[in-house]
């Protein structure tokens, strides 16, 4: 690792400061009379239109870690990592179909979290708690990974090289996260929404320049793919395990498809994506965005291929995650490399802020208000959320610094497995009350335990446990995504027990929702009223 480049570092720090100022100023944007309730602090006033939502949700879902990890898998010769692209394709039609219903019912009843909906629909604090805890558990390591993404950029810039003192290594990360925590605390959801503009514009510029300029420098795309192929062939000739390849081998096709499907289904169970969606101003914003957000997928697809470009350009790094940032440093002039690094680092801030807000809302609504202080006022709820958002970020920091990075990656892997187990309660619940609440809870418990156990049993060349996301489908030798296997077990348990509990006429609880709730839009009876207690001035 070479020394710090002054120009690159200067540009980086400048852009970082711009974003920090924006973050604090965001509390004045679309100003509300007060920020001390969750509709305002936690959902930005529930008033974001198509344009803002596109930046916000795009900035939320396409995280810094994605931008580093996906090209890294291609660089390492594991083409299965490209599943991020079909995953993105599949996810939006599902969003188009499911989420308008969640939007409507949530606005009618003032639900802030997916667990709020489960509580209202199934009249079960236990089931809602299960959904909430799953969300918090899965979100924490995800925030930690954003830090990992930021750390990678800092390391390539020459800051925090391993082996230096603890302070020099981790202080920049502390400062960045300290600022993030402070403006999320004061501005709530408005901070990431405003910063997302800067983040996304920077990311678009950097990636477009990178995919047009760099391949030309190294001899064109055709040469890039040939160079990648011959590099993998050479590695395989030396006996690389597992064999490297440019496209997935035939025996990995089920793995590829199940990773895409399982991740797409889990994506909109994640609290941060639901939070982004509930912050929109009306029902059609989500649908329009389902047609507009794939633009980010094109970007991610092209960016992923930079993993191959790095091979063709002769980038040699021990940690594949360093490949693309290193490529930027080698190929770009210092000032533009600074812009690129800032884009990735700021790209970590937006999702980290939204994730911490989403996790904090789950805590306030479905743990604090449901179990600890049942008479909590909106102001107390908001105060809890603000504090917990700090706590969650601090937790993520400890994760990355004190525990190993591998541990965060393992848990993130498990996060997808866990989140999918809440799908029956949330998505199926949007359509039918047929499932019994206790059957859903039992199915969830089975799915969580089985999925975790399966993941524990996966060994990789470097790890004895949690070595990867794939297992043999029971009774076969076909590799598939663990989340899908656990989900099937979950569903079977939920169906069998529902039949039993219904036959025994066990109390199914009172459904708070009506059929009309799933179609209500902004301005319909009961919808405007939910928003007005925050009295937003931007109506």
């Amino acid at each position: 690792m070479n020394g710090v480049n002054g120009v690159a570092f200067g540009v980086f720090v400048f852009l970082f400061l711009v974003v920090t100022i924006l973050g604090f100023a965001a509390s004045r944007w679309r100003r509300a009379t007060s920020l001390d309730n969750l509709d305002e602090w936690g959902l930005g006033g529930r008033g974001f239109g198509t344009f803002v939502a596109w930046f916000l949700i795009g900035g939320d879902l396409y995280t810094a870690y994605t931008f580093i990890a996906v090209p890294a898998t291609l660089y390492a010769g594991s083409a299965v990592g490209f599943f991020a692209i079909p995953y993105g394709i599949i996810a939006y039609p599902l969003v188009f179909i499911f989420l308008p219903r969640l939007w409507s019912v949530s606005h009618r009843h003032g639900y802030v979290t997916p667990a709020d909906f489960v509580q209202g629909r199934y009249d079960s604090r236990g089931l809602a708690l299960a959904v909430a805890l799953t969300g918090i558990l899965a979100t924490m390591p995800y925030i930690a990974l954003q830090l990992v993404g930021m750390q990678v950029v800092l390391e390539v810039m020459g800051i925090g090289t391993p082996g230096e003192s603890w302070i020099a290594k981790d202080l920049p990360l502390f400062i960045a996260f300290g600022f993030l925590a402070a403006y999320t605390y004061t501005s709530g959801m408005r901070a990431p929404a405003l910063i997302a503009f800067v983040k996304d514009v920077l990311i678009y510029v950097v990636i477009l320049v990178a995919v047009i300029y760099i391949p030309q420098q190294v001899g064109g795309w055709g040469h890039v793919f040939d160079a990648a192929q011959s590099s993998f062939d050479a590695a395989n000739a030396e006996g690389a395990v597992p064999p490297k390849g440019m496209i997935p081998p035939p025996e990995m096709q089920w793995a590829y498809a199940s990773l895409a499907l399982g991740s797409a289904l889990a994506l909109f169970m994640y609290p941060h994506s639901v939070t982004g969606v509930l912050a929109t101003r009306n029902r059609s914003v989500i649908r329009r965005n389902a047609a507009l957000l794939p633009a980010y997928s094109v970007l991610l697809g092209l960016l992923s291929l930079l993993g191959f470009v790095a091979i063709a350009a002769g980038v040699k790094v021990a940690n594949p995650q360093h490949s693309v940032p290193q490529l930027f440093e080698d190929q770009f002039s210092p000032w533009f490399a600074g812009v690129a690094f800032a884009a990735i680092a700021i790209g970590a801030l937006v999702p980290a802020a939204i994730m911490s807000i989403a996790a904090a809302n789950l805590w306030s609504r479905n743990v604090y208000k449901a179990f600890i202080n049942r008479d909590a006022t909106p102001a107390q709820e908001a105060q809890q959320s603000k504090l917990v958002s700090l706590l969650v970020k601090f937790g993520a920091l400890v994760f990355v610094l004190a525990l190993s990075k591998d541990f965060a990656i393992n848990l993130q892997l498990l996060g997808g497995v866990w989140m999918l187990q809440t799908l029956p309660a949330i998505v199926i619940g949007l359509y039918t009350r047929w499932f019994h609440r206790w059957a859903l809870l039992a199915g969830w418990a089975v799915g969580m335990a089985y999925g975790t156990w399966l993941a524990y049993g996966v060994a990789s060349p470097v790890k004895a446990h949690f070595g990867g996301p794939l297992v043999d489908f029971p009774g076969t030798e076909t590799k598939v995504y663990i989340a899908v296997v656990a989900f099937l077990a979950n569903l079977v348990v939920a169906i069998v027990l529902t039949v039993g509990l219904r036959a025994l006429k066990v109390d199914p609880g009172v459904d708070q929702t009506t059929a009309q709730d799933f179609h209500a839009d902004r301005g319909d009876p009961g919808v405007e009223a939910e928003r007005s207690h925050g009295a937003p001035v931007h109506a």
Partner: protein, 76 residues
């Protein structure tokens, strides 16, 4: 139903991996595996946009069927 029919290919085709897990034919140097999937993003966008048009009509019918006004009172 029409919406589901429009969106089904966008979900089903990416899951049918053997269809596109191959190197040839190349396009501008890109192996089939990569350019096909990136092109599928465009196809999905077209299908979703068509579904958007259909959904506007379906939503009106759904609203009336559930006792709401055909258009949301506050469509801003």
């Amino acid at each position: 139903m029409l919406i589901i029919a429009l969106l089904a290919p966008a979900v089903a085709i990416p899951l049918w991996v053997p269809l596109y897990d191959r190197v040839d034919p190349r396009l501008g140097g890109f192996p089939f595996f990569f350019w096909f999937q990136i092109a599928m993003i465009g196809v999905a966008v077209v299908l979703t946009s068509l579904a958007l048009v259909v959904a506007a009509k379906v939503t009106r019918l759904d609203r009336v069927a559930h006792g709401l006004s055909p258009e949301p009172p506050d469509a801003s």
